[in-house]
Homo-oligomer: 343 residues x 4
């Protein structure tokens, strides 16, 4: 059976597993005070064009945890977080952000993206409102790269959002749960570009080749002054922190993170092209490892015993939108095998 449900169905990339196995019986200090974590921090900072003076990195376990821990760190006590209405924090995190006291302020999304002009207008209207002290003050702007529907902001779009954030003195947080695939799909946004635009962002591991783990990077190292306590108060501090260090060190040695992103995107593009050639309609035009098609229900029913994927929303009368996801492990053979089911 073929599986295209999502990109966190397997364990981790074999190179990552190998390093975990090699180091398994070594004894190191806990809570990220080990050499592997130190090495991973160096590698990540270097890949981001930062160093120990100009930036800082911490490693967390999962995406929702990272979003809530970062937002709760960066935003003021009861500040809100501005997000596209399709943003992960607004839809699929069981209220974790509100659980620590922060309202999600939803702006319209355009193919998953926030528009810089609309963001600016929102800020203008907010501060022009006489009663804004009675409203939720925006403490951080949150966007995803790539978005929940596989699209990527251009460098110009990111820069425009960043300028609005700066204008209104509000930090920008980029959720990079699928960053590897976004970078591989983008013409002009590299990791260094992300790191220079976001005030804080994270490099996703869970969906991009590790067993688990997200690397939070900031170019405001002073924000991490008491970060260990903050993380622990969120229940998010891993005892064997080196597991995160080892995995991220592996991702950022030998270009593994790039290779992972590339594989996800290459197989996704092969899938998309083959579907278009076969006359299927795109539900959404995505450049990354998530692909959205509209399938006739009879085909859908015929496929489901042999290939798994997600219905994107409720089943419709005759044709239903679906999502296929590739990842670091998907092969061109998988794509071809899927096409055999169609042809």
């Amino acid at each position: 059976m073929l599986h295209f449900d999502t990109d966190y169905m397997r364990g981790c990339h074999p190179e990552v597993l190998e390093r975990l196995a090699q180091t398994n019986m070594e004894q190191t200090p806990g809570y990220g005070k080990d050499e592997y974590t130190a090495r991973a921090k160096e590698l990540v900072l270097e890949a981001c064009g930062l160093d120990k003076v100009t930036g800082d990195v911490v490693f967390l376990v999962g995406g929702t945890q990272t979003n809530t821990t970062v937002i709760d760190l960066v935003a003021g006590r009861y500040d809100g977080v501005i997000s596209a209405d399709t943003g992960h924090i607004n839809v699929h995190e069981s209220g974790a952000v509100e659980a620590s006291g922060h309202k999600v302020i939803a702006l319209p999304s355009h193919g998953g993206k926030m528009d810089a002009g609309e963001l600016d207008s929102w800020f203008s209207a907010f501060y022009a409102d006489d009663s804004h002290e009675h409203m939720v003050r925006p403490g951080v702007v949150y966007i995803t790269f790539p978005t929940e529907v596989g699209t990527v902001y251009t460098k110009n779009e990111l820069t425009a959002i960043h300028e609005v954030c700066d204008k209104w003195n509000t930090p920008l947080f980029i959720d990079g749960a699928r960053l590897a695939y976004g970078l591989a799909a983008s013409a002009d946004v590299s990791l260094k570009v992300i790191a220079s635009i976001a005030d804080v962002f994270y490099i996703g591991g869970t969906k991009c080749g590790t067993l688990f783990g997200e690397a939070v990077v900031t170019r405001h190292p002073e924000w991490f002054g008491h970060i260990v306590s903050h993380i622990k108060a969120h229940g998010a501090l891993m005892a064997k922190g080196r597991l995160l260090g080892i995995q991220f060190a592996t991702l950022f040695e030998n270009d593994l993170y790039l290779r992972i992103g590339r594989n996800g995107v290459d197989t996704a593009m092969a899938l998309k092209q083959g579907m278009l050639e076969r006359g299927f309609e795109l539900f959404m035009d995505s450049a990354t490892n998530q692909q959205f098609f509209v399938l006739p229900n009879e085909l859908l029913d015929r496929l489901l015993p042999e290939v798994s994927f997600e219905l994107w929303g409720p089943r419709c009368a005759s044709h239903t939108p679906v999502r296929f996801v590739t990842d670091w492990a998907t092969t061109q053979t998988d794509i071809e095998n899927f096409f055999k089911l169609l042809d």
Copy 2:
């Protein structure tokens, strides 16, 4: 100068003040354990068609405090609260509801009201969604009576919402910050009707004749088992609780609450009728003590030195929506004096 900005610009109704003055030097136990509070509870329950066995009442100080304390009591730990997008909790409470961990789930509003059919569809879609465990579970439905734009639900509309809530096993909370005016404006919704439909609701005092104070009523007295600690943990327990008791006892003796509502609505209707007669356009058709008109900017500028009221949103190019609010103290003379400025 005439003031129609809002209904909390004065102190309290003279009958309330008189009772506070009469009892001022008496010594009573604190925290609502006094006889005045006991009497107020009896009177409120009776007015609601309830008694000590079938209902319970507590008194809080302010509206936002009441909303967050009640929602945090009634909803599960990180449950959300469904509200019309214009709902006070969604717009004007500085994130107090999220501060205690509850997301506000916004539904479209129709003249300030939530639609029972849309609510039902929302629940259906939520529970049909395979990933709803990753979304915010709705723990309570919140509506306002009257709404933020002065409209009132009919008894049928309330009943329909209530039935949807029951169907989905979710309690209904009615915010009655301006309840006196809503009841006075309604053809078929009495306090007893509210009390029989809402699982929990509050009778507004601050905007309806008291210095401060809101009476929270439930027909599930078991929900109030540890209510004192809950209120105090919210910083909302008044030391001299009798101040609340005395004020609410006064409101519910001699029909004062009805008289207050009636006066607010009568003067508002005189204002509305006079404006219509003078050819002004309604921005929104309200039956209660908030009235919304569209004024030409030149008139607006001429009026502002002599009468205060709120612009309803930003000033527009030629005509701007405005809000006028009457209350328990507004007189027909006030309305006539305002008309003199127009004529």
Copy 3:
């Protein structure tokens, strides 16, 4: 019947009531944007030796609310608050401080007071502990003046605590719920002294002559940059904010606050002296309006039908500690009438 249970059994001082009554029908803006509140701020700042540039004031409704709102403002996100173990926040606030995420770190109390040397040692040990990142970081030091058992710090003691706080870069918050009585009892601590030592403190109204209300004063006005939203998120923003302004303006005109404190202490001293003359034992030696005696149980039983007061802890075998509280309204006649019951 005579009542010495506590100092919040009556309404408010007649001069305060008179001002509330005089202004009752005036119309002013809400939420503390009125002239009375502005005037009260001026008067309070002046009494504290501060002005608009060097300090700021906000008014809240009650003590627990004030403690939790201030601590949550001043301490970092999950920082703890150091308190004597007898501190009000540690004992009698239903967990309101923890409700907003802050652990109360309890130090031994000595007659209700914290010892500066012990505080310094605690800080030393904390930061010397290798695992202090896994412990709760102290974000603020909280003391009460006067303490929960009626004692007052000397100026030297306060200064010593302040120096420790400064040494460890941690602000000092003084809870002045009964400040009027503490100031009246102190030889060398004036309001100006408090204001120059505390980073933030509050002047209690509820127990010192107002219906309700506490004035929070800081000499770090930048801390109050978004204070309205913060207060509202705590459900603590009063709609008719002028009620607080009017009451505090009255307290700080014509030396009313001083007179109130003086009356409470004078009557308490008369009570104490009379009890000592009659051979009763002090349970605790208090200089303020709370007095603690040890009464034989037979006397206690004889008194209770005619005078109310608090047992201080559970009833003991033969003699039981009790607390008597005087206030702004207690008269020397009340004390004499009580003595008649004894003689």
Copy 4:
């Protein structure tokens, strides 16, 4: 170099690693909806003498996360949690429990243990106090097995605490971060005994052979009705939940959990006996994998370049308490090698 600092310095038990490697490239659903997790739940329930009707299990990542998630689930909204003052939640969790609104109520510890009689007295005094509504209501009792200092409750002691909890209608939560070692050390407390006494407890993985992971078990399955949302709101839901399932399934197949506990305790006993034979003093008499000795400082200084362990508190004048920890991987050869450094 020898390391006895703690029991989370290595990766995982080789049998666990092997299973993770074997299954690495399989594709399974996320968030614990896979077959491995289902199998692990079955095995854990069976080992606890429970089944799907009488109990339930969920898997979390780490200990602090588990404590705060469980306490926040089981205790009422602002209820406190009673713990020995040495309890992990009271000392070493950076305020994670308070972060979700729950005060830790500390009782004296006796060699790390809570005393049932003292607990009962505390409850009696609490509910006898007239002002207990103003205090923090106890919502759950928390103990650790084994304790933070390596001691274990006897079955009688656990039963006595359980009876007090039942008497006061308060659930008992047992933190089993090092449960494997506690069970191996105990004469009469088996996993089934723990499961029949605790209302909810967890079986520690992180310190007992897994890379990470804790299994939360309850005999009140109805408490887990919305557990996925609750876990996710705490940022604690692992995307690749099968990693937890695979590890716990491995622990509970082939008696691995028992073997792990046995090895930790056997090597600890060899260490203790050798130290006693060599004339060293115990700082605390522990039956489990943590051993506490008092070492002369000159020896300590001589050892530190060749063996790592923890100072237990600050270094003292001539002799300093130290902690040595063994685990599933410690060998008798490690112990002998250590002794060679002494002899």
